[in-house]
């Protein structure tokens, strides 16, 4: 099945083919770098030839220098491992050992700081120093991404530039000079693919900043002229709660990374009436599988078992399986589990359910709550709770029960506008519970429904869930 690849194009050649037009840029909250300048210099305090064939850990605090370093090293380094922000020191050590890291690229802080490793340290900056470029960028660099597992050692999924860029046939009419942005960090799959689309698609990029409020980021994105922006449903719920969505007017709004319910799609449609709204399925291991653009939750059943496209989807034992050219090659390190099965399909662990002619995501396999032998998917219950107009977001979990093993409990964040109206919280609770009773089986209805001021979102952009 291996197709003959044309001669390799490096990320640098994709970003700045000949003479990039002025105006293209990448920017974070602190600095802005013109692509035009980038084409004529580099941001690493090292002779790039000395990094040829090296195995590089990119351990950075800021995304801007990270993006520049990735473009410098692609085609030169043998392997680049993108350290997620906040990775625990013990995990940094195991990642370095398993990946055979011999060089650390850093902007000063970053996860590998203050750790005495036997590796060369190279500084990356947010400024470009003019200089000649190596002409040979033919190394097939491995791009290694850490998965956002909540427990245990992170898994390292090996991609290539080709599998990350892939043929993204989502039909988005890319205008002449798109300005992309994402709530995701680019050291995670969801953010990195957006960065690559921006850079390889003739566009610009505005980075988010973990230190910044949502309102400040949206204002900066608006000022930067962002036309395309992505995030998880949790990111977008927070954006709506900030009351600052009017600070920008994107033409394209994308959701991925978590199950997307109808309520968030409807609310984003209201907030951005003229934008193209898409929700996508993607994972670090399986890559981007598909985009849905009809504004409806779930995806058409016709996508399953369809032959001939660049992606084949299957449902087996209730979970979505994906085979495509965007699937990662393998795991690095001593993980015994293969990334894909013998036929090349990745089991996403995301459980789907067919309702009429659409599949809906109902939750993660490991997140299922077992109520006396009956399965409950937290996301399915949250989707119902979130339908109440006063509810901004919710989290459903299992509570231990001596009778049924577990029962369903829920927490919800209520819209400030609703709180301001002074309606009693008891009325709201009974309204939400009535909604649940109408739409769900009795064992799925939350036994307790707690109003909370906020719900934590992990660095991955997903709701924090504590699976028992």
């Amino acid at each position: 099945m291996q197709q003959q690849q044309p001669s390799r194009r490096s990320l640098r050649s994709l970003i700045a083919p000949e003479d990039p037009p002025p105006g293209r840029f990448i920017a974070d909250a602190h600095a802005r770098v013109s692509i035009h300048d980038f084409a004529r210099g580099n941001n690493l305090d090292a002779n790039l030839e000395s990094l040829r064939g090296r195995c590089v850990l990119i351990s950075t605090a800021r995304q801007l220098p990270t993006a520049l370093a990735l473009a410098e090293l692609d085609g030169i380094a043998r392997r680049m491992i993108l350290c997620t922000p906040g990775l625990a020191p013990s995990h940094v050590a195991s990642v370095m050992a398993d990946a055979g890291v011999d060089t650390i690229v850093t902007d000063g802080p970053g996860a590998a700081r203050n750790l005495g490793y036997n590796a060369r340290v190279v500084t990356c900056n947010d400024r470009i120093v003019a200089g000649a470029q190596p002409s040979d960028r033919s190394v097939e660099t491995e791009w290694v991404l850490l998965t956002s597992g909540t427990t245990g050692r992170p898994k390292m999924a090996v991609h290539t530039l080709q599998s990350l860029i892939g043929p993204l046939s989502d039909g988005v009419a890319v205008q002449k000079a798109p300005v992309w942005s994402t709530f995701y960090d680019i050291r995670r799959y969801g953010g990195l693919t957006i960065l690559l689309r921006a850079l390889a698609g003739g566009g610009s990029m505005v980075f988010s900043d973990a230190e910044e409020t949502v309102a400040a980021f949206l204002a900066r994105a608006g000022a930067g002229g962002v036309t395309h922006i992505s995030g998880t449903p949790s990111h977008w719920r927070r954006a709506l709660m900030s009351g600052a969505t009017a600070n920008m007017s994107p033409g394209y709004v994308r959701l991925s990374g978590e199950a997307c319910d109808q309520a968030i799609l409807d609310k984003l449609r209201q907030a951005f009436p003229s934008a193209n709204l898409a929700h996508a399925f993607a994972s670090t291991e399986a890559g981007v599988a598909f985009d849905v653009r009809d504004g409806q939750a779930g995806f058409p059943a016709s996508l399953i078992d369809r032959d001939g496209g660049d992606v084949t989807l299957r449902v087996e034992d209730g979970s979505l399986r994906i085979r495509s050219s965007r699937v990662a090659m393998r795991y690095l390190g001593d993980h015994t589990r293969p990334l894909a099965d013998a036929a090349g399909f990745v089991d996403t662990g995301d459980m789907v359910e067919l309702r009429a002619d659409r599949y809906h995501f109902v939750g993660r396999r490991e997140g299922i709550i077992n109520v006396g032998g009956r399965k409950v998917h937290p996301e399915a219950v949250e989707a119902v709770i979130n339908q109440h107009p006063a509810v901004r977001m919710s989290r459903v979990s299992g509570r231990t029960s001596p009778i049924t093993g577990a029962i369903v409990v829920a927490e919800m964040v209520v819209a400030p506008s609703h709180l301001a109206r002074g309606d009693s919280s008891a009325t709201l609770r009974s309204e939400v519970l009535r909604l649940c009773q109408e739409r769900l089986a009795s064992h799925e209805v939350p036994v307790t429904l707690r109003q909370v001021p906020s719900l934590d979102i992990a660095a991955s952009g997903k709701l924090v869930r504590n699976h028992a």
């Binding site: 509570r399 231990t400 001596p402 009778i403 049924t404 029962i407 009795s442 064992h443 036994v447």
Partner: protein, 83 residues
């Protein structure tokens, strides 16, 4: 309020929420014949844990599983006495 009263109120409330019709609540009513299924009982136990801070069925001490409503109430009364 007496434990017994709290439990009776909870039982009636959960039965109503779950659309179950209860026979007259007497001490010798067998829980399994009461019309309450295990989900109802699980909800009652969780509610009582929230309200009274008592969950004798989950305690480390070995307790006999209650058969009748009277057993159930005594379980909670004993738990209060030792709490």
């Amino acid at each position: 309020m007496l434990i017994r009263t709290v439990i009776m109120e909870r039982v009636a409330m959960v039965a109503e929420q779950q659309g179950k019709h209860l026979p007259p609540l007497t001490d010798d009513l067998r829980l399994l014949d009461s019309g309450l299924d295990s989900l109802c009982i699980a909800i009652i136990v969780a509610n009582l844990d929230d309200e009274l801070g008592l969950d004798p069925l989950s305690s480390d001490e070995q307790v006999d599983f209650p058969v009748t409503l009277g057993d159930f109430i005594r379980l909670y009364e004993n738990a209060t006495a030792t709490a």
